[in-house]
Symmetry: C2
Subunit: 209 residues, 2 copies
């Protein structure tokens, strides 16, 4: 069970009553690494606040394609689930657990209520939207202006920042995240290896740059 102290560490700057409301109303849930936590088109029933682990957020295509947008870390929340005034609001994003996850699920009926009740919740929602908006801007910048080699580099750097210099991803997984093909990723990584930017192993490689 989560204590108030633990909550304070993960979500600082909240007011007292908010911690108590969370402890009372939110359900602490778990998700295994690799699980899909939220699908596109799915009805949103609760807000999702990450307590432990890393979540990846995607834009999903009609025919199965996925496009990686950004990570969610402990203390962060899935923006789209935070403001669902109307019933049957559908998710525009796909969320997947990268690691084993602990998260707080708060039924959406509290969202409107808490916006009124807790100033610190209000700020939290705004901060969340602002930072997610900025992440999207970066994603658009890469996608709109850069070729695949630069996009791959950006992708790897983001991964390194999250998880360190050892990248445990197959070329296929990277290709999926970038919505390109495995062959393209393989060839570009080979080029990076020639340049001395990475050292490749099976199922993983090291970022040296």
């Amino acid at each position: 069970m989560l204590t108030k102290e633990a909550l304070k560490n993960i979500f600082p700057d909240w007011e007292d009553g908010l911690y108590e409301a969370i402890l009372k109303e939110a359900e602490l849930k778990e998700a295994k690494a690799g699980t899909t936590m939220l699908k596109m088109g799915q009805n949103i029933k609760s807000a999702m606040l990450v307590v432990e682990g890393t979540v990846k957020l995607y834009q999903e295509d009609e025919d199965g394609g996925e496009y990686f947008m950004y990570h969610l870390n402990p203390g962060e929340a899935c923006a789209v689930t935070l403001v669902c005034n109307y019933h049957h609001e559908q998710s525009q994003v796909l969320a997947k657990a990268v690691t084993d996850i602990q998260y707080l699920a708060i039924p959406i009926e509290f969202m409107e209520k808490w916006l009124n009740e807790f100033k610190s919740w209000h700020y939290f929602v705004i901060r969340t939207y602002r930072s997610r908006y900025e992440e999207l801007l970066k994603t658009i910048h890469e996608t709109a202006f850069k070729n695949m080699d630069e996009r791959l580099e950006f992708y790897i750097k983001r991964h390194v920042k999250q998880f360190g210099k050892t990248i445990n991803l197959t070329h296929q997984e990277i290709a999926n995240d970038l919505n390109t093909s495995r062959e393209v990723v393989s060839r570009l990584l080979k080029k990076m290896e020639h340049n001395g930017w990475i050292i490749m192993n099976r199922n993983a490689f090291e970022w040296m740059k």
Copy 2:
């Protein structure tokens, strides 16, 4: 000069005190069609709320490229300018006046203050971020998954929704917005003409689909 009644029409759902604060503190400014209202990297000194006209928001590249993201209409605000707690916050977007514009410029020192003071302002900021976030999701979707022909179609449809079936843009302007070349746009438009989707004139064309 703006009256409180006029403000109420453009920005409904605000509380009384907020209208008065706006009338007191905001400056009603104008911008000519074609003007750049906010550049990337520029220090943000005031929030921008559109009163009259249409603004286009872009992501800007280091070497001059522009990528169109979405429109701002009367009653809408530039999200990035709404939450600038810290001084010297720099714009991540480029804003251009499409038509002649009237807008409210509110010095950023009021942003923090009004978040505390006016609940309806708080809601306005959240609504703004939410809707802009959703626009960005659409933009990413098109950019990441679609080829140029579909992206062009999406672009035209958005334009039609804004301004009607007559599109008064040169091929070059469209190409700039999509970060492609004029030749590509010309050829794709020609294809659409063959398909009977558009009727082309000089400097303009009609959307028939």
